[in-house]
Amino acid sequence: MSTSVLFDAPGPRARARHRLLTLLGLLLAAGTLALVLWKFAQQGQLEASMWRSLLLPEVWTEYVLPGIRQTLAAAGASIVAALVFGLVFGMGRLSTIRPVRWVAGTIVEFFRAVPVLLMMYFTFTLYARNNVFGVDFNSFYAVVTGLTLYNGSVIAELVRSGVHQLPKGQSEAGLSIGLSPGQTLRSIELPQALTAMLPALVGQLVVILKDSALGTAITYPELLAQAKNVGTAYGNVIPAYVLAAALFILLNYGLTVVAGRVERRINRRGRAAGGTTTNAMPGAPGGTGAMPSTGLGGDNVQNLDPTSTGR
């Protein structure tokens, strides 16, 4: 970063100015923090007893850990289902049969435009009213349905744009050696497109994990809902929510870091194998990393998707 092309090495006056800005920045951050803490203390939100109950073993074994498990379960199931949904509908959008293309396209566009929460409210009411999956599972499946339909549609778009960005010669070569269009798609285009879309795909995993917190609104007992229960049982709502936020940040940040590592490793291997350029999709929907990088904006621009991506 010190060698950014955006600015020169600072001279004496610039250095003085930078020191001033540094001071201002630190003061602003420290001031905000102090104000918040002071006000919270005034309101009795910092009382040790409120925070100490968060350390009780039973809080972790009965609420926090089960909550994390439920969060991961919903996210994991949604990721698998969304990948399948995305592949199927992505291929549907690339089909040579017009009605298939049309139907797949409509479904994908529709579910990309509908808010996940709206979908969860609806599917949960539907499942609960007809008791589709049993009382214990209705909310779980409502969360998974909502996350799958939305994220699956985003992945379908990734598949489609990934294939579209391949050099035309790839499909022509496939067709010219006598493969059918379907075979060409499956055995030549898709494998390459999937590698190219990996960064975006991996970014979508974080989105799914984070969005599983919306399940609180439909009584799915994930981490946030469990924090709410802690707040009710121990009379410390705010500390419980702060803990939940910290855990969510850790989980998501952890997944981002792991995903970034996996992504880099796969990219390296892809190049070694002489594959297509891994930066093939600069403007792809949900494009996470892999902007054609000149490095101006600093490293590691990723996960542009605030819960959802556009078109």
Binding site: M1, S4, V5, L6, D8, A14, H18, T22, G25, L35, V36, K39, F40, E109, F110, A113, V114, P115, V116, L117, L118, Y121, F122, T125, L126, V206, K210, D211, A213, T216, A217, L224, I238, Y241, A244, A245, F248, I249, N252, Y253, T256, G283, G287, M291, S293, T294, L296, G297, G298, V301, Q302, N303, L304, D305, P306, T307, S308, T309, G310, R311
Partner: protein, 228 residues
Amino acid sequence: MGEIGDILAKYDVLAAFGMTVYLTVFSAVGALLLGTVLAIMRVSPVGVLRSLGAFYVNTVRNTPLTLILVFCSLGVFFILQLNLEPASSPTFLRDNAIRWAIVGLAAYHAAFVCEALRSGVNTVPAGQAEAARSIGLTFGQSLREVILPQAFRGAIAPLGSVLIALTKNTTVASIVSVSEASALMKVIIENETAGTAVFLVFAIGFVVLTLPVGMLFTTLSRRLAVKR
């Protein structure tokens, strides 16, 4: 279909979507302003500002929006007692709920605007920055005159994505006492039997809101792209 007609007559669906649009517009302006400041911080020559910017983005981006809105409402409004509407107002609670939801939405999406802008900055060739420096422009000048104008044009597509996401994410405000579209849908679904039809009405409402925005931004991004 008759039943849907009755429901539309009985509940003010348009007003609910009006609130969705209201939330979207004001949060979008806020997110764009804050996001730009963050992006400038993240490419600035001052190390502390860069770190603060990065810290903000990484923290906010990894926190569920639900929690951010609850913190704004319960934490900042009720505990810190920061009012965005005089306490004497007869709509004190309602207005504060809406305004703090807007602040929360703006704060959350600012992190994504910041990243979109950084990706826009990345579309500017390094030569541009070098040229700006070589003619003696300072960091501020080169950002203002050379880099940012191109970056905004390069970031239009991702910014459009953020705007669409924001439109849909306003539904989360239903959790903090703001009666927008999804809150009304929940009420209707609980009280009426025509669940699926009601869902379709609201879902299509969101399609109508987001589809044109998507198309507009796609066109804009093509039209305004810097030809290189």
